[in-house]
Structure formats: structure tokens, C-alpha cells
């Protein structure tokens, strides 16, 4: 897999006072402007052509960006731009950008229905948009965080009374690792679905526990999360969800970038168990 024209957008950057940096991550465009005793973070969820499509895959940065890209008008009030300013007593010129996974679980819906026959297992490769965390290197303090693509909200639960708010995304349900396009603005999760029941399992939607997953980087700069296994058995409503700790075996030269946002008290969680079941079977 190769990522054409894509360079990793994350890492440590030195932005001298009076200059700025520009990042293009998925559909998002981000500017970091370094002024005297101040950092301004400007985020626009769209590209220069005002495109906000989730399928846009960009990963590029310009440090320092040209003057045209970092005019004062950026921090003015403009529609579609989110401007946040952070003031510091001591001038600091180093910032770092880190990819992170979503802050809520992600419900993924295959574009076409996929069946898992009895006593079969299948591994799906799901790709989900990344969040961008901005830190001031000196203190290590996070100053801002934003999604590279704002996914739609969705509700995941057996009823409108019980359940949990998640993000929604669609997946093409790719079954081969090599079919997954290399996109540095997204992370790939290997999801193994195991059907130990006696009837075929229809995958209508699956809930990916993104806040509980750690993020890894391969030697080719692809981002992967820990693998997830869902086991569905006869007579039991739903599926058991298990997180396989450590980098997935598919990833060559893996190094951990960020840990999970939330830690699980036990590896196997049953809280999504019922919900997954009732929604998988509808």
C-alpha cells in the first residue's frame, strides 16, 4: 500500500513567532498561527473548495505556510471557521499534533448487507476518521482537539429510552487488508466477527468501541487500532465484544501513538452486548 502525495500530518513542529502552519487532514483544514504570547488555532471542517465529503483523503502540511495562507483575516469572524486563541506568558514555538480516535463509539453500517454463515468467521477492515490533538510541546498540555471529519450522530441501543449516543459511518465492508485504501486521515480497525451459532448472522451494523482502543503506527505510517473480536453464539442475545490488546498482527513495525481514551475495567464488556445483538438481527 502506498499513499500518493500524502505525508504524515502528525509530529512535532517548530513555528517561529510571526509565522503560521497549515495542515490539510481529510476534508479539514487547520491553521496554527504563532503571535506574540499567543497561539491561534483556526479550524475549517472543509477544503479550500468548501468540500466536506467524508471520502476526501488528504494529509499534508505547510510549515511555515506562505503569507497568503495566514493572513490576519483568518482570525476574523468568518462563516465556517472556528477560531480559538490561547495566550501564554512565555513564548513557546514548538507544537505537536497527535492523531487520536473518536471520543464516542462508532456505529458502522456496511453499504451492502453481509452475512456470516454458521460456524464461520470473517475479518472486516473498518476505517474511521481521526481526531486531531494539538499540544504545546514544552508543557505537554493539550490546547485543542477537533475531528478531521464530523461524523453524524446516531443512537445505538435497544430502544429510544436505553442506549448510547455514537457516531455513524458507512463501511464498504472490505475483507482483504490490501483492499483498504491508504488514508492518513483515518485509522483502520480489524474487526473479527465470529458466528458460532447455527444460523447465518446478518451484519446490519456494528458498534466499534473507539474510545477504548489504542492507536498504532506502522513502519509505512499507516494508522491502525487494536483489533476487536465479536463473538455471536446461539441462545445468547447479542455478541461478546473483546478488544485484542496490542498492535494487530497485520501491522509491520508497529509503534504505539496514543493509548485509549477510556480504560476498561475488564477486557470483555457486556454493556454493548445486548444492544449489538438486537440491532444486528434487525
Amino acid at each position: 500500500m502506498s499513499h500518493l502525495n500524502q505525508v504524515p500530518w502528525w509530529g512535532a513542529f517548530h513555528i517561529a513567532e510571526g509565522t503560521c502552519g497549515k495542515w490539510e487532514i481529510g476534508p479539514s483544514t487547520l491553521w496554527l498561527i504563532h503571535r506574540s504570547h499567543e497561539w491561534a488555532v483556526v479550524h475549517r471542517p472543509s477544503t479550500d473548495n468548501e468540500d466536506m465529503d467524508h471520502s476526501i483523503s488528504r494529509s499534508a502540511y505547510y510549515v511555515p505556510a506562505s503569507g497568503n495562507d495566514c493572513g490576519d483575516e483568518l482570525t476574523g469572524t468568518r462563516e465556517g471557521y472556528q477560531v480559538r486563541r490561547y495566550s501564554f506568558r512565555d513564548p513557546q514555538s514548538d507544537v505537536s499534533l497527535t492523531p487520536a480516535l473518536a471520543d464516542r463509539p462508532i456505529v458502522s453500517r456496511p453499504e451492502s448487507t453481509l452475512f456470516v454463515p454458521p460456524h464461520e468467521s470473517v475479518t472486516l477492515y473498518l476505517s474511521t476518521p481521526l481526531w486531531i490533538q494539538i499540544r504545546v510541546t514544552e508543557s505537554g498540555r493539550q490546547i485543542a482537539e477537533m475531528p478531521s471529519f464530523r461524523m453524524s450522530d446516531t443512537w445505538f441501543g435497544p430502544s429510544t429510552i436505553e442506549g448510547e449516543l455514537c457516531y455513524a459511518t458507512r463501511t464498504s465492508g472490505r475483507l482483504r487488508r490490501d483492499d483498504v485504501p491508504a488514508r492518513l486521515n483515518r485509522a483502520i480497525t480489524p474487526l473479527r466477527v465470529l458466528n458460532t451459532g447455527n444460523d447465518p448472522l446478518e451484519l446490519v451494523r456494528v458498534q466499534l468501541p473507539a474510545p477504548y482502543l489504542a492507536l498504532y503506527k506502522s513502519d509505512a505510517d499507516e494508522l491502525w487500532t487494536e483489533a476487536v473480536t465479536m463473538t455471536r453464539s446461539d441462545g445468547v442475545e447479542g455478541a461478546e465484544v473483546e478488544i485484542v490488546t496490542g498492535a494487530p498482527p497485520e501491522v509491520r513495525g508497529a509503534s504505539r501513538i496514543t493509548g485509549p481514551r477510556q480504560t476498561l475495567k475488564k477486557n470483555l464488556f457486556t454493556s454493548t452486548f445486548g444492544a449489538v445483538g438486537s440491532l444486528l438481527s434487525t
Binding site: S152, D153, T154, W155, T160, I161, G163, A168
Partner: protein
Amino acid sequence: MQQWLNYLLDILNSPAAWNVVEAAFKIVLGVILGRIAGKTLVRIFARPEDLHRAIILRRLSLYTITGLFTASALMGLGFDLGVLLGAAGILTVAIGFASQTSASNVISGLFLLGERPFAVGDIIRVNQTVGEVLSIDLLSVKLRTFENLFVRIPNETVIKSEVTNLRHFPIRRVDIEVGVAYKEDLRFVREILLDVADRNPLCLEEPAPSILFQMFGDSSIDHTLRVWAKSENFLALRNSIPVEIKQAFDRHGIEIPFPHRTLYTGSETTPFPFESHPANGTSTQVPVST
């Protein structure tokens, strides 16, 4: 003067005076212990976000402990509690007749705390008033409306009327009425409406948005777009969806009609005798030969 001072000293030195001081001390101690016990119970049993339970625990412990200490103080002063309670019974009947409303509110308040249709911090609608619950007290429920007005609703009114809790469930449906002209392709309109819902990130994908046909109206074909949102995002979605629908309709040339009126002058085929002269910008009524 000296005589008065001696009299005062005599009273202060008498055992009865000490009994009064002791009783007062007991009552104060009861109040302090009641408050401490309330706070401790809240810390142990109530989660920080559960203000309602915290209030109940605090009140219960304060009233019980203060009541016990007061009873003990009265006994220390030589009162016979049995007689006092009997007298209180007769007094209650008398007061009850005199203050029916207050008593009813107190009882209603107890039922409200027990039934728990809403908690402090919820957004509720009672009759026409919508607001955030500030407190559920002995006599009334206090609300803060969105205009930042303070509203006191007697507990009895709350018990008797229909109360809607807008924040009880985590998600809520937003209904938006949409009317389109008779000439439009309804399948295409539905497609556009669903696309608008799909693109709005606040609109939940599940439960899925739906479109309900309402009626063939006087001037338009009316539909209701039903979309779901997180309860907190209800207003944001209610305001953003109509803007997006209008934009999408304008982009695709779909007409949202005004009320239409067709005028006839007695005959079904002859038009109303009216001609427009755009050249001089005025309209005049001219005779039309029939």
C-alpha cells in the same frame, strides 16, 4: 434597680434557667448534627449529578434529627410529650381547616418527591410554562424559564396538571412541516429531504429520519419530516434543518408555495378582466370584450 438585678440573678441561678439553656443547646446541636448527617449521607449515597436525591437526604436527616433533639429538649423542660402531641392533634385539625391550601401543597410535595416525575435540573412544561427545575420545596416547585424569569408553581398545581419532562429521555424527535407545490415530483422531494437529514451531523442516523404524508392542502402538498436528535441538541436541529431544507429546495428549484386563490367572474372559462402594463410599472383594469 438593685431589686431588678437581684431578681434576674435569682432567675439565672435557678435550675429552671439552666434547663432552658440546656434545651436551647440541644436544639442548636440537633440542627448542626442534622446538617452534618445530611451532608455525610449525600456524600455516601448520592452521585454528584443527582441533586434530587441529595435534597431529599439532606431534608430528611435535618428534620428527623432536629425533631428528635427538640423532643428531648422539651422533655428536659418538663413537658409531657403525650399531652403535647394530643394538643398538636387538636391544633392540627384547627390549622388544617384554616390552611387547607398549604397543607395540600405540603402533601402534594411529598408525593412529588416520592413519585419523582422530574428532578432538579430537568426542563419541564407545566401548563404553558417551560423552564428548568431549580428546586422542589415543601410548598412549591421553582422554575427558571428560558426568558430567565423565576416561576413558583404550587405543588398542588403540579400534581393536578399535566407535566411534560423534556429531558427525561436522552433523545427526542423533531417534527418539521414542509409544504411543496403540486407540480413537484414527490419522490424527488422525499429524496432531498432525507439527504438534508443525512448531511446534518446533529440529526441522528438511527432512529432513521422519516417522512410522513400529511394532506393535499389548499396550496401545497404537506409532509412532515421527522428527525431525531439528542435532547440537548433539539433546538439547534430544529433551527438548522429548515434553513438547510430551504437551501436544498432553492438549489433544485422546488417551490414552497404561498396560499393560492383563483378568482372567477361568474364564468368558469373567462379570466378576470385584469391586464398588467409593465412598461410604466402600473396595473390598470381595462374592459375586456366578451
